[in-house]
Amino acid sequence: MSAATHRAPDTGDAAAARLELSGVRAGYGDFQALFGVDLHVAPGEAVGVVGPNGAGKTTLLRVISGLLRPTAGTLRYGGQDLTAVPAHALPSLGIAHVPENRRLFPHLTVEENLKVGAFAPSARARFAERREHVFALFPRLAERRRQPAGTLSGGEQQMCAIGRALMSGPRILLLDEPSAGLAPIVVQQVFALVRRIREEGLTVLIVEQNVAQVLRVVDRAYVLETGRVVAAGRAADLAADPAIRRSYLGMH
C-alpha cells in the first residue's frame, strides 16, 4: 500500500487533528497490557501519561503508532481510523514517535539519521529546510552532523532522536520516556526542549516516569496503572492531589 494514499492534506484545519482512543485493549500473546484505555489529545495540547514501570505506557504509544494492534476499542486521528492504517504510513499522516531508548542508528551519522527520518515521500522534498530547522533547535547536532550517532552523549542522542522525528514534519509528537537514563541537568534541558517544541505549535503526547518534571510541561495528564487510567486531569490539579504526591512525587 502506498504511503501517499494516507497523507492528510497540508491545509487540513487543526480541529481535524484530534487523537482519540476509546476502550483500547492490547497485549502481547496471553499477556494483556491495556484494559480499556480512554484518552484524547486535542490539537496544540501537551498531554502526559505517567505511571510506574510496567503500567502499559510504552504499549500505549506502540498502539497509537501502529507497531501493536489493539485487540479491542477504537483509535482515531483527525476522524480517521488508525487501526486500518499500516504503521509505516503514519509519518505521512503527521504522527511521529520518538521510541523508548531513542533507537538511533548508531553507525549512521547524525545527518543520515535525520535523512532516514525524512524517508516519507512527502518529507523528502523539504529535507534541507527541516534539517536547518532541527540544527537551529539543536546547535550541538549541527556541530556533530558528520559524526556517527553512536558517539553522541545521552542528551545529544535524545536531541537527535527528537530531531529525526521532526524531519517528517509531524503535527503530533509521541515521546516515550525522553528523560530515561539522562543526568539530572540533561533532563532539565530535554524538558526545556519539549517546551520549545510545544511553542512551535506541535501537539505533544509524552510518556514519563519522571512525574514531577513532566507535570510542569504538560497541560493535562493521565495516570496509568496496570493498564488502566486511574486518574486524569489538569497537570496543576494532579500535582496538587495528595494521593499523587504520595505515590509519584515522593511527598508525605
Binding site: A3, S65, G66, L67, P86, A87, H88, A89, L90, P91, S92, A96, H97, P99, R103, F105, P106, H107, L108, E112, K115, V116, G117, A118, F119, A120, A123, R124, R164, S168
Partner: protein, 284 residues
C-alpha cells in the same frame, strides 16, 4: 621483486575484484533481509547462461546481452524473495537455509535439463597487456575495472539515496523502521532486486573468464561464502576487503604450489581466522 610473484599478486587483486561483487550482494541481502541466499552462485550461473545464450545463440551484441542479464537476474532475485524467502521470514534460520539450498539444486537441475552438462564458452578474449615486467590478461583487467565500478555504484546508492540510507538503517534495527515511514516488506523486495542485479553483474564478469556449465557455481560459490564469513557476515566493507585478501591468497598460493593447493591454503587460512576472530576479520 620476482616478476612472477608480482604477476601472481596482480592477478590476485584482479581476482579479488571479481569475488567482491557476489560477496557484496550476499552481504547486502543477509544484512537487510537476514536470510542467507545459499543459491547465490547459481543466480550468477543463470546470468552467465543468459549472456551466453543471447550472444552466441540469439546473436545479440555482447553489450546488449550484458545489459539484458542484469534485469533478468534481478527479476530472479525478486522471484526468489517472493516465492521462497518471504513465506519463511518468521521460520527458524535452518529452514531458510535449507529452502534457499533447495533452490540451488533446482537451478542446477533446471540448467542441466535446458542446456545439458556441456561446457559453453563465450569465445571472447581480449589481448594481454604488458605493464612494466608483468603480463596482465586484458579480460581480467576489464572485469576488475567493471567490478570496482559496480562496487562504487552500490556504495554511492547506499550512501546518498533515501532508500540506500534506509537499507543501511534496517540492517541495524528493523523493528523501528515503520516509525521512520519505511515499509520493511518493500525494502526487502528492493534489496532482493539489488542482490540479484549484483549477481547478474558478477555473471557478466565471470562469463568472459569461465566456461558456463550447470555446476560452475561450485567454482566460486563456496569461496564467496567463506569471504563473507571472514569479513564478518553482513559487513559490506569487511567483505570487500576480505575478497581482495582471499584473491591474493589463492593467486599467490597457486604460484608457490599449484592451483589445487592454493585453495587448501586459502581454506586453512579461513579456519585459522575463525579460531582467532570468530566474528570475522573486520568485526568491530
Amino acid at each position: 621483486m620476482d616478476p612472477f610473484l608480482l604477476e601472481a599478486l596482480v592477478n590476485g587483486v584482479l581476482l579479488g575484484g571479481v569475488f567482491a561483487l557476489p560477496v557484496l550482494g550476499l552481504n547486502l541481502v543477509f544484512g537487510v533481509v537476514d536470510v542467507i541466499w545459499l543459491c547465490y552462485a547459481e543466480l550468477v550461473m543463470v546470468g552467465m547462461y543468459a549472456v551466453w545464450f543471447l550472444h552466441t545463440q540469439a546473436g545479440w551484441p555482447l553489450a546488449l546481452a550484458f545489459a539484458a542479464c542484469l534485469p533478468v537476474v534481478a527479476a530472479l532475485g525478486v522471484a526468489l524473495h517472493l516465492l521462497v524467502v518471504r513465506p519463511l521470514l518468521g521460520a527458524p534460520p535452518i529452514n531458510q537455509v535449507l529452502a534457499t539450498g533447495g533452490v540451488l539444486f533446482v537451478l542446477q537441475g533446471g540448467a542441466t535439463l535446458v542446456f545439458s552438462t556441456d561446457f559453453r564458452s563465450l569465445g571472447v578474449e581480449m589481448p594481454p597487456m604488458e605493464v612494466g615486467e608483468v603480463f596482465v590478461s586484458g579480460t581480467k583487467l576489464a572485469a576488475f575495472v567493471a567490478a570496482l565500478f559496480g562496487a562504487a555504484a552500490l556504495w554511492a546508492f547506499l550512501k546518498f539515496t533515501y532508500v540506500g540510507t534506509a537499507i543501511r538503517a534496517i540492517a541495524r534495527d528493523r523493528e523501528v523502521m515503520p516509525l521512520m515511514g519505511v515499509d520493511p516488506r518493500r525494502s526487502y523486495l528492493v534489496t532482493s532486486a539489488i542482490g540479484g542485479t549484483l549477481a547478474g553483474f558478477a555473471a557478466c564478469l565471470l562469463v568472459v573468464q569461465l566456461d558456463v556449465h550447470p555446476f560452475v557455481g561450485l567454482s566460486f560459490g563456496p569461496i564467496t561464502f567463506i569471504i563473507c564469513v571472514m569479513g564478518g557476515l553482513g559487513n559490506m566493507l569487511g567483505g570487500f576487503l576480505a575478497a581482495f585478501l582471499m584473491g591474493i591468497l589463492v593467486s599467490v598460493g597457486g604460484f608457490w604450489w599449484n592451483t589445487e593447493m592454493s585453495y587448501v591454503v586459502a581454506f586453512a587460512f579461513f579456519i585459522v581466522v575463525m579460531f582467532l576472530r570468530p566474528r570475522g576479520l573486520f568485526a568491530r
